[in-house]
């Protein structure tokens, strides 16, 4: 594996230490920037919500009921219109999300585009501000990641550093928004980097610390959920928490499937994509006239769901289904925003429903909040694919060990069941839909992202189909290759012959036959955009020295030698190994 490679070589010694400390410092700077951006974003959303009569406070302080009803429908609809126009300026015609961050890091493509980053943040801001049922953490994560990537680009850093700066931005955004530094660090590793190298840990931790300091000093907000002296659950209740985990996985699955399904259905609508969010906004607004709980991020709904008796059992079920539907509608029809905050609400409502049922069946009433939190973790952990992060958020926000262990019981079943049935996270499912399969880990993702084009060589022996066997043998002998590729006058690929077969024919004294008359070895041909991963799969089923590369019209472009595919595989593995096991 000791192949000399230019570029990202692990630097050891004092120079390496200085370089590494520089990276830690850069992490802290990015953390500060991402945290400030997050604080600004959150404040702007709250301000817009009050101004646009989305937040309960703004709605209550507005005295004219008929105008309020009008605003409830118009604001999300007009917000959708703005969002639709914003998305037209993004090459992919959709807002970028944490899934794009994960893809950039996992395939080592790095480099999140700044323009799409800014537009996506704006789209998230307008969506949330106008009351769409979407989350704020997705846009925050993407914003932090874009800042990190931009910093790496400005400083002309390599791919590994780029991945680390992205993780720094992500961690700081989460640490600031939740005021939970440990959760920020773990989220960046668990969801974005998907490895735990010391080399990445230190800059990410520095970023998180800065974010945490900024959050505690600037963003003096109440905890996302607040639990006062919870009672101790009885031993049998842990069985209930486990069961909530199993059922929560199904709720998470329904949530993810609904978002994707609405996305597919929206594609069939006879409505131009930029207008779809407006339609979704209007529909949401009309529904919110009856159930205002589904508007916006739903922080008040989340709070009430942790209070025993705030909702009736039936009411919990109705709000849960409506919130799920509203979120699927908003995200599927193209609003910008995250999936986490709605999942928090849905999960907590689900947990509260379980708690209400248990209480009705004779269980305890004083442990109600445990059920709510267990439901919350059971739904959110599978959706974002981050069981540890979810647990840490519970721990850091409540400071309660008992609650965290209860949440652990529920996540124990939730995450694996959801991963088996649906996928590791909504992000992974979305990426798989776009052709990036992360289920086999990062090495496969990198190989799937690498294209044969870069490995193509023109050194293969090409023969015209009417060349004689003798001529073919002579050419192959001179070039030192065992295979030749038949290319006709129009440059089209016509098959391949091996030196062994040609020799047999020559032995039989038929060396004046033309080569296209000879028995041909059936060989796969691949396009220049085929991934290295696919090429390796083909290699398993053939023996030979190279694979011909042709374009869509069968035009012969060159060959890729088996050896260069193997070399590329080793190189990528080596880079990953350095990145994931590097200490500094």
């Amino acid at each position: 594996m000791d192949m000399p490679q230019a570029g990202e070589r692990a630097v050891q010694g004092p120079g390496g230490v200085i370089r590494f400390l520089g990276l830690v410092l850069l992490g802290a700077v990015i953390g500060g920037l991402a945290a400030l951006a997050a604080v600004g974003f959150v404040a702007a959303v709250l301000w817009l919500n009050d101004l646009l009569l989305i937040s309960p406070r703004g709605r209550m302080m507005f005295a004219r009921p008929e105008l309020l009803a009008l605003a409830t429908v118009l604001v999300p609809a007009l917000g959708g219109l703005v969002v639709g126009q914003l998305h037209r300026a993004i090459p992919e015609r959709r807002p970028h999300t944490p899934a794009d961050v994960i893809a950039a890091v996992q395939t080592r493509r790095g480099r999140l585009p700044a323009r799409a980053g800014v537009l996506s943040a704006l789209s998230g801001l307008v969506s949330l501000g106008a009351g769409a049922s979407v989350g704020q953490y997705g846009p925050l994560v993407h914003m932090g990641a874009s800042l990190g990537s931009t910093a790496a680009r400005l400083l002309r850093l390599g791919r590994s550093e780029d991945n680390i700066t992205i993780a720094c931005g992500v961690a700081a955004a989460i640490a600031t928004a939740f005021n939970a530094p440990l959760a920020g660090i773990v989220f960046a590793h668990e969801v974005v980097l998907r490895h735990y190298a010391l080399r990445a840990f230190a800059p990410v931790a520095a970023a998180t610390l800065v974010g945490h300091v900024i959050a505690t000093n600037v963003l003096a907000r109440g905890a996302l959920f607040h639990v006062a002296e919870p009672a101790l659950p009885r031993p049998w209740e842990f069985a209930a928490f486990l069961a909530i985990g199993g059922l929560g996985a199904l709720v998470a699955g329904a949530y993810m499937r609904s978002i994707l399904a609405v996305g597919r259905l929206a594609g069939r609508l006879p409505l131009a994509p930029p207008l779809r969010p407006a339609l979704a906004g209007a529909m949401l607004g009309v529904a919110a006239l009856w159930v205002p709980d589904i508007l916006g991020m739903g922080q008040e709904t989340l709070r009430f769901a942790t209070i025993a008796g705030a909702f009736g059992g039936l009411e919990l079920g109705v709000v849960l289904v409506l919130k799920l539907a509203a979120t699927a509608l908003c995200l599927g029809m193209g609003f910008g925003g995250g999936v986490f905050s709605p999942a928090l609400v849905i999960g907590t409502l689900f947990g509260a429903l379980c708690g209400t049922l248990v209480a009705a069946a004779g269980g305890a009433q004083d442990t109600f909040v445990f059920y709510a939190i267990c439901g919350m973790v059971a739904v959110t952990a599978p959706v974002i694919g981050a069981p540890l992060t979810s647990l840490l958020i519970v721990f850091e926000l409540t400071g309660s060990y008992t609650l965290t262990t209860a949440a652990l019981a529920s996540v124990t079943l939730a995450s694996p069941i959801a991963a088996q049935l649906f996928g590791r996270s909504l992000f992974d499912i979305q990426l798989a839909g776009r052709g990036l399969d992360l289920s086999s880990g990062r090495s496969r993702a990198v190989l799937e992202d690498a294209r044969l084009e870069q490995l193509m060589s023109q050194e293969g022996v090409t023969l015209r189909p009417d060349a004689s066997v003798a001529e073919a043998v002579a050419r192959l002998g001179r070039a030192g290759h065992g295979e030749a590729y038949l290319v006709d006058a129009e440059g089209r690929y016509r098959g391949s012959v091996t030196l062994a077969d040609l020799e047999v024919i020559r032995e039989q004294g038929e060396d004046t036959r033309t080569v296209d008359d000879c028995p041909q070895t059936p060989r796969p041909v691949l396009g220049p955009q085929t991934s290295v991963w696919t090429a390796m799969r083909h290699l398993q089923e053939m023996t030979g020295e190279a694979i011909a590369v042709v374009d869509d019209d069968d035009t012969f472009l060159g060959v890729v030698f088996e050896a260069s595919i193997a070399r590329a595989f080793l190189r990528y593995s080596d880079e990953l190994r350095r990145e994931e096991h590097g200490a500094g």
């Binding site: 905890a223 008040e300 209070i307």
Partner: protein, 372 residues
């Protein structure tokens, strides 16, 4: 000659000024509009007299009974008789919006003695565009010491827990403060109180709590709750902290204050637009909001200083010698779980919240006079 002419002119000016000067008021005085009674007597001892002693500027006091009508009329006529006003923050906010007050910068306030800048030394939201909070008073719950042998209420939720703390209650017949306490009893964080009260669900949870109280007396005059407690008519009552202080210290009523969930309101200094002596008024506000003066005021009345540095210097009552720390709303011992009344919220919702309140708790009463 030019210098000689200048001298003449200066002499003439001085003479003119001397003639125009009101007789008997050698240095010009300022007029402070304040609330009268024990409150004004305390301010005189702690603020007005020391200000005159320090600057030579005499302070005269005019009696204020709240409201903005007089101020509106005076500003419109261009003849404002007051230099400084002591008003509630909600009225100062309204007056400021109407352009009746001069803008005040937070930089007017002195830093704390240890050098902490004023912005950090004052409690949150002490600085409005036209006002600076100088004192904080609170609506609190007081309970009879002899009502619950062996235990005493420690959390505002205990107000609604008639199983552990049995007995009649008295509450003010207004939505404000009661709704806050009712929702706090569900263990919601104080920061989210008004956001949650803005939802139908939050309001109905709070009103349910209030409706669930048995043997409830409603009071309207601030003097009623200490009296009900003194007579043993109720065992817990809401009321103003100053009134309870008076009952405990001057009349030996056996009550204690439950500070948990206290709802604080701000008293502010403001300068009317077109005040006759704005410079002297600013000098007075700077003097009166200093750490030392704020701490001095708290030796006479149980109003909380708006500065952390002053709250830490609270000592004993000037006359009776009792420990004032137990009675000051902003003292760290009492302020830990306080709620600041959201005046902006009430300003916009008062009527509707009042309707909900009456509909839920007084369904039979016809048009009662508007509450709060």
């Amino acid at each position: 000659m030019v210098p000689a002419r200048r001298l003449t002119r200066a002499c003439a000016l001085a003479l003119g000024l001397w003639v125009a000067w009101p007789a008997g008021a050698a240095p010009e005085g300022i007029t402070v509009l304040s609330w009268g009674g024990a409150y004004e007597r305390a301010q005189s001892r702690a603020l007005f007299a020391p200000f005159t002693a320090a600057t030579g500027t005499p302070v005269s006091v005019a009696r204020y009974d709240g409201g903005l009508a007089d101020l509106r009329r005076a500003v419109a006529a261009g003849e404002v008789p007051w230099d400084v006003m002591d008003m509630t923050r909600s009225e100062a906010m309204a007056a400021c919006r109407e352009g009746l007050l001069a803008p005040l910068s937070p930089s007017l306030a002195e830093p704390a003695p240890d050098g902490t800048p004023a912005e950090r030394d004052f409690i949150d939201e002490a600085f409005g565009p036209c006002s600076i909070t100088h004192s904080v008073f609170a609506t609190v719950v007081a309970y009879r010491r002899d009502a619950f042998p062996g235990q005493r209420p420690t959390r505002i939720a205990d107000l609604f827990d008639q199983r552990r703390f049995p007995g009649p209650r008295a509450l003010q017949r207004t939505p404000s403060v009661n709704l806050e306490w009712a929702l706090l009893s569900y263990d919601v964080p104080r920061e989210e109180l008004y956001r949650l009260l803005s939802t139908r669900r939050g309001l109905s949870l709070a009103l349910e709590r209030l409706a669930g109280l048995e043997e409830l007396r409603w009071w309207e005059a601030g003097s009623t709750p200490p009296q009900l407690l003194a007579e043993g008519e109720v065992v817990m009552a809401s009321g103003y902290n100053g009134r309870f202080f008076d009952a405990m210290v001057n009349r030996d009523v056996p009550i204690d204050i439950l500070w948990d969930g206290q709802v604080q309101e701000h008293e502010v200094w403001a300068i009317p637009r077109r005040a006759p002596h704005p410079e002297a008024a600013r000098a007075f506000i700077r003097f009166a909001t200093g750490t030392e003066r704020q701490a001095a005021l708290s030796r006479y009345i149980p109003y909380g200083p708006s500065r952390h540095s002053a709250a830490l210097r609270i000592t004993t009552h000037a006359d009776s010698g009792i420990d004032m720390r137990l009675h000051i709303p902003t003292h760290p011992l009492n302020a830990e779980r306080s709620v600041t009344k959201d005046e902006d919220w009430y300003a916009h919702t008062r009527e509707r919240i009042g309707d909900y309140f009456r509909a839920a708790l007084f369904p039979d009463a016809d048009e009662t006079p508007s509450v709060d």
